[in-house]
Structure formats: C-alpha cells, structure tokens
C-alpha cells in the first residue's frame, strides 16, 4: 500500500535520512533545518545540531524562523559567541557535515546566494554569504537541499558565493585542510551526487513517480544519470507523521506570536 505524500515531504524525508547518529551537523535555516530536526526526531536521536548563532547541540521543539530564535538557545546544551562558533567549532574541525540551502546551484555544486545578474548591476539582490562560504569548506562534507527548478539549477552560477567544486570541478584539488565538499544534493525530484572524477552532479536516485524527463525539464544543463539509477525509498508512515506534527507545531507557535 502506498502512502499519500507531497513532493516537498519526499524531499524533507530523503534529506533527513542523509543524517546519521554520530554526525555533528552545522544547520542552515529553512529546508536544511526542517530535515535535520526530522532526522533528530526519527532515526537519528543522537545527531548533534549546531546553528551559526552559537547554539551547540540544540533540540528545538519547533522550527526556527530565524537563525537566532530563542527556541534554539533555550533547547541547546550551551550557547557560545559567534566568533567562537566559527573559529573553534567550525574552523577547528568539529563539524562533520554542513547542511545548506541555496538560491542557485550549478553543475559543479557551486552555490550562489549573493545575486542574480551582474554584481554591479544586479537583477535580483539576494541576502549574501552568511555562514555558507566557510561551512562549505571547513565542514567534513556538505549536504545541499533545495527545490528543483530551471531557475535554481543553472549550468554556471552568476556568482560563486560558496564553493562546490569551482568553475572547472577542480576547485578543491591541492587545497590543504579542506572538506570533501558537497557529497549529495537532495531535491523534490531526485538525489544527485558529484561524479568521482569530474565532480559534475549526476542523478543517482529518482523519487517515486518521477521520470528522467521531469528532471531534465527542471535542470538548466544536460543532466547526466547514473548507470544504475535507483528509486528513492518512499517516506514511512512514521516519518510523515513526525514531519507533519513538527510543521503543525511550528505553524501554531509562529502564528501565535
């Protein structure tokens, strides 16, 4: 029997499953935060979640609207200053995985959160780098999650705010003390991983009822598919229940404020 679920729920559950007990995860706001907390509330209760506002090992009851919501601090083991967070905990090598969202991503998993268009004459101005540039290079590896669309998945990003593998796929080669970079990209259609040689993103798993054409249609470059293309496992009833409860709790909380 197949459960009913949305493509957004499929994305969150798949992203959550990427996290495991024993990981220390530096969490971006929005979709990564939703996935990370779903992991913590289901199969990975011991996963350590860290937010750039300085909250270490936080267990929020509801999802934060901003990176510095009081909830993150109140449910944390401890809260440190922002310089300590970036210097000791991130740069010091204590973070195994950075979990990021983005506005734009390209075939080498470079991320753009700065602007669309030319830097000095932008079409759309975005918020900027925030913590991402150093999370992506100082964390052991990086998971990325975002909704699949042609606008977001472009051949070359307009601006590299945050390094994936550079304009030629070789951006991390020979750089000392750098993380492995993006190891998977989770969307509402599929899961992608960088090719071990070229570092170009390749679809390794299609979500149920998603076709190759759906992915091709929503990607701004000639996307490649792995030789053995898998089907992403469906969400379980338990995962869906926990996710829906989490989102409902969050909505109630933020509506009441």
């Amino acid at each position: 029997m197949s459960l009913e679920y949305t493509s957004a729920e499929m994305m969150s559950v798949t992203a959550a499953r990427a996290l495991e007990n024993g990981m220390t995860c530096f969490v971006g706001i929005g979709l990564p935060s939703e996935a990370a907390n779903l992991a913590r509330l289901t199969h990975a209760p011991e996963v350590v979640l860290i937010y750039e506002s300085g909250t270490l090992q936080t267990k929020p009851e509801v999802l934060p609207l901003s990176i510095g919501d009081g909830e993150l601090c109140e449910s944390a083991l401890t809260t440190v200053s922002v310089p300590e967070m970036f210097r000791y905990w991130l740069q010091g090598g204590k973070v195994s995985v950075g979990f990021l969202g983005t506005a734009q991503i390209d075939r080498f998993a470079n991320l753009n959160t700065t602007l669309i268009g030319d830097y000095h004459d932008p079409k759309v101005r975005l918020p900027g780098g925030g913590g991402a540039p150093e999370i992506a290079t100082n964390a052991g590896e990086v998971f990325i999650t975002l909704k699949h669309s042609k606008r977001a998945f472009v051949k070359d990003v307009d601006f590299i705010t945050t390094l994936g593998f550079g304009r030629d796929g070789k951006g991390r080669d020979g750089v000392p003390n750098i993380g492995r970079g993006p190891t998977r990209v989770i969307t509402d259609l599929c899961v992608m991983k960088p090719d071990p040689e070229t570092k170009e993103l390749v679809v390794v798993s299609l979500h149920p009822n998603v076709s190759r054409e759906d992915v091709i249609e929503a990607t701004g470059w000639e996307i490649r598919f792995a030789d053995t293309l898998e089907t992403t496992p469906e969400p379980s009833a338990h995962e869906l229940e926990i996710l829906r409860e989490l989102k409902a709790r969050t909505e109630r909380k933020h509506a009441g404020e």
């Binding site: 510095g68 210097r87 101005r125 951006g171």
Partner: protein
Amino acid sequence: MAELLSLHDAVARYVEDGATVAMEGFTHLIPFAAGHEVIRQRKRDLTLIRMTPDLVYDQMIGAGCARKVIFSWGGNPGVGSLHRLRDAVEKGWPHKVEILEHSHAAMACAFDAGAAGLPLAVLRGYVGSELPSVNDQIKFIECPFTGERLAAVPSVRPDVSIVHAQKADRAGNVLVEGIIGVQKEAVLAAKKSIVTVEEIVEDLTTEPDYHPNACIIPGWAISAVAVAEKGSYPSYAHGYYPRDNRFYKEWDAIARDRDAFTAWIEDNVMNAGGNA
C-alpha cells in the same frame, strides 16, 4: 567607567556624523531603540557595520543615516529582502549607499581581532568564493610557519559600537544572556561604546541568577549605559520578551514603498518620544 546617560544624551555625545558605527546583536538583542535615536538626531554619512543588517539598518538606511554598509548577510530573516537597503544600493534613494560584503566567519573573526587590538584577522576562509573579487578588503597571506594560504581581513575597529543587553548595575557592569553574538567583541573593539539595557539593578553579582562564568562586560570597559525598556523590540530579549515575528512580516510591505516607509518613520520614530 560607564556613565549612566539617557539614550538621547549617549547618542548625542558619541555618535558623530561620518562615524563608523557597529550596532550588533545576532538576530537577538538588536538595538532598535538606539537606532531610532540615531534617526531622530538625523545623524548622517555613517559607515554602518553589522553581520546581519536587519530591520534596524533598513530603517536607518531609508532615513538617510548611512553612507556605507559593511555586512555578511542582509535580509529580513524568514521573510525576504531589506527593501530600503536595496532601494539605496540600486536606485540611490534617499541617496547612494556603498556596500562591502563579507562572510559571517570573516566578520566574526574581524570583530574578535578588533577586540584583541590586532590590525587584521586571519582565517581559513573564502576558499573558492568570488567574494574577494568584489571586496578589496579581502586578501590572502601565507602562513610563515606552514606556508598555508589563509584569508586576511582588516579588524573591525568602530568609532562607536552600540549593543543592547538584559541588565546593568549601578557600576555600569552589563550582563548579556542567551545568544550573545559578537556583543562583547563589538564593545571591546570600539573606541567608544553605548550599551542600552532593559533595566538597572543594584549589583549584578548579588542577583539570584548570577554565576561566575556569566557573560558580563565590566563597566570600566564601556563608555555609556542607557536604559531602553523593550529596546530591542521587535527583535527579542532572552528572558524579557519574544520576537514579534508578525512585525517582521509587516515590515516587508511598509519597506517596499517609499511613502509608506516615510510615514512609518514619522509616526513611529520621529514623533514617538525618546524611547521608541
């Protein structure tokens, strides 16, 4: 030794036209009351430093206080753009504002270096990012011991830093609790500093919640302390009041329109008395 001043007098004395001003608070304890006082006193040509320009800088920029903004993430968290910042940068209203953007790690390190009295901060940062191509304040140096290439940015040394905190005591000692951001670094990095607080107590060290590792900035390291009740509203003060998420959403519509913005500033800042 911190002087206990009114917010009006503290801003009048320490914030000069053309000054470099850091108003910090990492999505918490954002010094809105002080920002509004700066707007009321019509300060001009300020270089505004802040990791996360929030509504407070949107308001100050729209009101014409800023010449330049140095930041690492400029948005209305969970809502969208800062429309006054964009209007100033893209269309020059009310006048042109220059921006210089960093990453959080670099700015956090730059505050830390400023507090430490160093001229620069060194970090393992900006690897592969194109930010150095649009910000000439980002350089790379070679570690003299290992040869590793590291990023360097100038330390933040503001003329004046302004932060908000929970409470101070009669000696001007300030307690900061919750998400402490770069509050302490901002104060210690600056030539002069103003701390606004929710309340003044007799002696922080005899308060029931005092403990030896509390984040306390000594009064002798601060220039002025001013009481500003609800001084970080609509952001929040841990232990005092929550963030007004609804206002953050409402701001989007207010800030989109120049006339709506101007009317809002008139009603809620210019004609709202000394503590709004």
